[in-house]
Amino acid sequence: MLQQKDSKIGEILRYAIIVIVLAAVLFPIAWLLLTSFKAEADIRVSPPHFLFTPTFENYLYVFQKANFLSFIGNTLLDAGVSTIFVIVLSSLAAYSFARYNPGGGNILFFILTTKMFPAIAVVLPYFLIFKTIGNTAVGKFLQIGLDKPGALIISYTMFNLPFAIWLMVSFFQDIPRELEDSARLDGYNRLQVLRRVVLPLASPGIAVTAIFCLIFSWNEFLFAYVLTRTTARTITVGVESFFTLRGILWGPVAAAATISVVPMLIFVLILQRYMVRGLTFGAVRG
């Protein structure tokens, strides 16, 4: 009885702190959302207006003046395709590292070192690489080249791979080998074991990794800024155009930011359930 009361107080305290954390985390986003519906006159005022007539003028501005639909399509294409590439390549590689450790840790370390080279120093060589590839027939056919989606897809695949491999190795390590061994004894070959036993068990880890890859490429700025001009522009670069001589246009910035956050939000919510420790996971460990 006493213990139950004790844990109840603990529970209340826990939720109180969670509410405070959530408030701190969500406040900037809530303010962003609010600002996106404010007219310019309601934005640059002190004290801030909490009651105001909502307006869609910022959204209209974003879609009419900034050609945002094409930015959104490009971003979706680049982030989506590169995430699929990354997940396929990195889950194979990470499984190999977790089980067989090829290179005795050296290869894995090398992979991480590629993340240590500052992106700004990488961008110019990439510019030259894609300029060259873009002029070849293959480059034209596969849409790889400057101001083409292929260039960004490859760039994002490259810079998410090291991170994805490292993240997934730790998830694959947690899968008990006994399961794989017994599946082998049941007559599965290696690839079947990987596909039917290992990958399903690693799905929480794969989901988490996929979320990050998608978000990172969705939000990437520098490569998109340097490797695109007009047709392949992405959202983050498009927002740059709201820097004007009059200063930063907060309303359109907020509207554009809101538009760019919503798809990620939906995506995260969809993948939530894979992140929840699956029934199989519990059963296996028990």
């Binding site: 529970e11 826990r14 939720y15 954390v21 959530l22 985390v25 900037p28 986003i29 600002t35 934005i43 002190s46 801030p48 390549l89 990195s90 590689a93 190999s96 089980r99 067989y100 090829p102 005795g104 840790g105 370390f109 991480l112 240590m116 080279f117 500052p118 992106a119 700004i120 110019l124 060589p125 760039s155 991170f163 491999i165 490292w166 993240l167 730790s170 998830f171 390590q173 929480p204 990050f212 939000n219 700025f221 520098l222 959202i235 983050t236 927002v239 910035v253 907020a254 930011a257 760019s260 956050v261 939000l265 995260v268 919510l269 992140m275 929840v276 420790r277 519990g282 460990r285 028990g286």
Partner: protein, 311 residues
């Protein structure tokens, strides 16, 4: 008959790797490695080449070899060292705050009974925003006249600082923004790690009547350490290469108190077009990080080898 039965029940010696294991392992990593090798080594060789040349893009682009002159120039550049110091200070404080808060919040959510999924989705929302865009928006939040932060501080009769203008505050404002952006990253990964921990040791400990503190110290943290190390290293590397937040939120200001090394690198390369200096700095930076992280990663890699070897 007898020996045959024994060999069948006896597990295959686990330290022995068959040749086909090696090839299998190789083919699994081959596609990823092909991409990584090409797209990592080409820029690297390019940078090495440029770092030994005179390369002022405003005046004739790539020119003749100058030996180690660029390295000498950078190592004697007081500004370079200043930005290195700024980067280290930022990284240290940002990592401490993000790790402590991130892990604490992960435990809070892990223990929650109701609405775990919703809480988790809400906490990781900042991750879904683009630093390049939100950094811009945070300027508005921090704004001296119209910013909501100062408005609420005013309501509470607290001082209303000039977040982005005060020389003593710029770094703090940057760290607060970075924490808001990346603390959820730590939380999400640690939470995933917590959720994949096996249950039995904890049930056993509970049956033995071990205290919560003891369970945390003896079970949870040791079992979580690979995940914690991983997050720590990923975050450290990202903090050291911090660019987006500086470029959009502070632009190195006030003064040059938040000018990190990568922002200086960016200005050298893409504002002053001194690719030689930029490449040299990038290589020096990478070298320093590799050396430092080599030490930090040793335990993790050793553990990996041991686990993979214990097959």
């Amino acid at each position: 008959m007898e020996p045959a039965v024994i060999t069948q029940t006896k597990p295959i010696p686990r330290t022995q790797k068959t040749v086909s294991d090696k090839w299998y392992a190789f083919w699994l990593i081959a596609p990823a490695m092909a991409i990584i090798l090409f797209f990592a080594l080409v820029p690297l060789f390019y940078a090495v080449d440029v770092s030994f040349r005179h390369a002022d893009l405003t005046m004739g682009g790539l020119q003749g070899w100058v030996g180690l002159n660029n390295y000498r120039a950078m190592l004697h550049d007081a500004k370079f060292w200043e930005t290195v110091k700024t980067t280290v200070v930022f990284t240290f404080f940002a990592i401490v705050v993000e790790m402590v808060l991130g892990v604490a919040v992960a435990f809070l959510i892990y223990g929650a009974t109701v609405g775990k999924g919703i809480i988790r989705s809400l906490v990781i929302l900042p991750l879904a925003t683009a630093p390049a865009v939100t950094g811009l928006f945070w300027r508005y939040l921090y704004d001296l006249d119209f910013g909501p932060f100062n408005y609420f501080l005013g309501l509470l009769h607290l001082p209303q600082p000039n977040w982005l203008g005060d020389i003593h505050l710029g770094m703090t404002s940057l760290i607060i923004f970075d924490t808001w952006l990346w603390m959820p990253f730590v939380t999400l990964i640690v939470l995933a790690g917590l959720q994949s921990l096996p249950k039995e040791p904890f049930e056993a400990a509970e049956l033995d009547g071990a205290s919560t503190f003891r369970v945390m110290r003896k079970l949870t943290f040791p079992m979580l350490s690979p995940v914690l190390t991983l997050v720590f290293i990923l975050r450290t590397i990202d903090c050291l290469r911090l660019y987006d937040s500086v470029a959009t939120l502070t632009r190195g200001a006030p003064g040059d108190t938040t000018e990190t090394m990568t922002y200086y690198l960016y200005r050298q390369g893409l504002v002053f077009f001194r690719m030689d200096f930029a490449s040299t700095m990038a290589l020096l930076f990478m070298f320093a990080v590799i050396v430092a992280s080599g030490f930090a990663l040793r335990p993790l890699l050793a553990r990996l080898a041991q686990r993979a070897g214990s097959r």
